[in-house]
Subunit: 469 residues, 2 copies
């Protein structure tokens, strides 16, 4: 159905754009972090304005050429690489990284889609505000990609997902028309919410070119602790206790199984474990507090209340910013340790909170018939979002058998689905989970998704093969 | 294009449904609170299950008969009454008012669409949680209508609009298929966000039949104050001061112009004004606080800091729940006083916060050439949402000239639009603002809305004439 982006099309596109916008893509634009796909592209376009993006999309629509939007290239589900089919135009937003406006009195920031997430955080800090979206790749991912994939991260419990942090969007639609929706309003019911349709559509319904973002006042004080808990159930009770005492002030609530520290000991032996002996389950808690509350005392009081209720067995409360950063650093090194060990199958799942203790017990049992594995379970417990990753037994052959990988994945995902969970929690569907979407999504929802895709992108030029397959 | 719901169709529908589901509509189903429209209906359907709703919609789709969904009938923009065209089926959700599940550990509640908002609040309170959506009609509006219109209210500043309080939906789509999306997940990126497309679509893309709602821990203490401020600008500075000291703890921040109290004195003389003499501008502030902070002291400290900065001139801090309720009562009586006085034109507008002081000064000047008016400005300042209502001069003829009404409305709305605001902030578009939507909405957005409507409801049976006209 689609035509390739060939020399003739590139020449035509060149005539419509300023010099230097089109180049052959360097290899890094065709790779993705887990190395499972290698992308195709006829040309790399780096437009400098929304009008240039519109020109490119219009030309692609006219010629039925595919478009793959490219942010920071950090996505973990292959949304940014198209490995087969007629070569598309790769559209990188990196040249559109400007701050369009800062509005401290409105707690709002308007930025272009190519701004790196860490720079968005820094722009917010410069006006004394907080942009709370925070995730491991924040030094290289770009806000347009964060919104296209509705990124999650470590502060969702308090501040919501990427979609909840967006007040308005500018985007180019699949016919090349521009959606001017950069509102900074908190209440706006002028028609259907196109913003939320584009957010999370992973580039299949349009290209986000700029966003109006929601900022927050910075907490007067923050405090971080790493606490040993007797079980995931106790961790959930501790979360409820913390939220009941300090409503809206629990910023992060991460769970870490001791396997994460075993992995660190194995591949990064220089890292010191926070407890000796290591408990089976740890939680990392961050509180962000108002004026008038002593942060360390608030955490100590929470610890005492949890201790009285039998919900904690040990703990470390950071007494300096450096200690707090070191505790977070431990959490953030686990994905790197995972990479070095080499997973058979990684699962970005979410569950209703009350289903988590049951899942954590039952899922390893369900896998046992398939072989001997090590399971590293960590993630954003407060959001019900676990990174539940399956690894070969210690010393076993690290080469992954594809058939085994598929069986492990299906076993885990079937269980998650049966418990009312999601198999695409914070990383999106991309190209990795198109089969899962067909298998698990509600048929009524899938039918509506297909209708919407056909209506807005009748030729299917936007990110071909992603999400709906 | 559509066929009327005539006797033959009613008979056919009767054959598909249990006894007692279809009746002639009593007059109250065909009226709306402002008395501007009178609705048509061939029959009133009161289905008892999502399957019955699906049966009705499927039959309507087959016969090309219009469907008007009906919640509590409290909408202020005519979304629930169809005044012309072939008589539709009115579908009231009132029989579907059950609690489907309460999940305190997950801060979630699953309810049917016909549950009255106050009952939703009560169900949340029963499990020790807060459902923060709160608005004047909460004793009769229903949660399905709140979601269909993305209702706002007095706690949006802290907790968001109705859409932000919804984790998942069950709905019947325009072809009669069922969307089973009653997830209780905090992170779910399995495909496009159909939930947010249905929320705020005012029954034009489907009928919401149940919702999974987001609950919150209840603040350990709340405190309410009514403060006199020298100007709207000072009110905004006070808001920033409060949020900076108590991030995330300012639950409500309402502004009231003294005209509201003048109106109360005129039509409800039994109501006592909170200050004598009355200042021009008042704000009503509610804080919701954690354990460890003394609520009255937190408010008193805020007052002192505001006083030092010249942002307040007087104030009353409630020292009991009864006093707090009385202060809120004053605020909530203003719409009733407005009704008794009789507005020429009422505007539910939102503005970027920093545009508000300029608007409040300039808008009366812009109206002056059109005549002598009294303006009552009050609303949810923290959300930039004003109810900016224009009344005849005292003693003037109360009969409203339609041409004048249109001129007033256009003058106000043009100014709001030019300032980057919304002319449909929290009440929706309904049938009142279809012209405004065509006039002010971004063309790219309107085109996408039309494509989506045509794709999901090709026959245009869902709430004909609403939103897109």
């Amino acid at each position: 159905m689609l035509n390739p982006c060939d020399d003739a099309f590139i020449a035509r596109l060149q005539g419509l754009l300023p010099e230097g916008r089109l180049t052959a893509p360097e290899p890094r634009y065709l790779e993705e972090p887990r190395g499972r796909w290698h992308g195709l592209a006829g040309v790399l376009a780096r437009p400098g304005s929304v009008e240039e993006v519109a020109t490119i999309i219009r030309a692609c629509a006219d010629a039925r050429v595919g478009v793959v939007p490219w942010g920071g290239g950090t996505g973990l589900v292959g949304g940014q690489v198209m490995p087969e089919g007629p070569a598309p135009v790769l559209v990188s937003l990196e040249r559109m990284a400007a701050l369009r406006g800062a509005y401290p009195a409105e707690n709002a920031l308007v930025v272009e889609a190519g701004m790196i997430l860490a720079d968005v955080q820094a722009e917010a800090a410069r006006i004394g505000r907080l942009f709370p979206l925070s995730l491991a790749s924040e030094g290289s991912c770009r806000i347009g990609g964060n919104l296209a994939s509705n990124a999650g991260g470590t502060a969702v419990l308090r501040y919501g997902n990427a979609r909840d942090l967006c007040l308005g969007l500018e985007a180019v639609m699949p016919d090349g028309s521009i959606f001017n929706g950069l509102t900074r309003l908190r209440k706006d019911n002028e028609g259907y919410d196109l913003r939320h349709l584009l957010i999370g559509s992973e580039g299949t319904l349009g290209v986000i070119t700029a966003a109006s973002l929601r900022l927050f006042p910075r907490p007067a004080a923050t405090v971080v602790a790493m606490l040993a808990v007797p079980s995931p159930m106790a961790a959930l009770d501790l979360l409820a206790l913390a939220q009941g005492r300090l409503p809206g002030m629990v910023s992060s609530f991460e769970i870490i199984h001791r396997m994460g520290f075993d992995f660190l000991a194995e591949v990064m032996p220089e890292v010191r474990a926070p407890f000796d002996p290591l408990p089976d389950w740890l939680v990392l808690v961050e509180l962000g507090l108002p004026m008038g509350l002593d942060a360390e005392m608030a955490m100590a009081n929470l610890y005492d209340a949890a201790d009285d209720a039998g919900l904690v067995t040990d703990g470390v409360i950071a007494t300096s910013d450096a200690q707090a950063a070191a505790l977070w650093q431990l959490r953030e090194m686990i994905p790197e340790a995972n990479r070095r060990i080499g997973a058979i199958s990684s699962h970005d799942i979410s569950l209703p909170l009350s289903a988590i203790p049951g899942f954590v017990t039952a899922a390893p049992d369900a896998l046992r018939p398939l072989g001997e594995f090590r399971i590293n379970c960590f993630g954003h417990l407060g959001d019900g979002n676990l990174h539940w990753n399956v690894f070969p037994a210690r010393g076993a052959n690290r080469k992954v058998d594809e058939a085994l990988r598929d069986k492990v994945k299906a076993t885990v995902h079937d269980m998650v689905h049966a418990l009312g969970g999601s198999v695409a929690a914070e990383h999106g569907v991309g190209r990795l989970k198109t089969g899962d979407l067909q298998r698990y999504a509600d048929p009524g929802k899938l039918a509506a998704m297909r209708s919407i895709k056909a209506a807005l992108d009748p030729q299917g030029i936007m990110n071909p093969g992603a999400v709906l397959g």
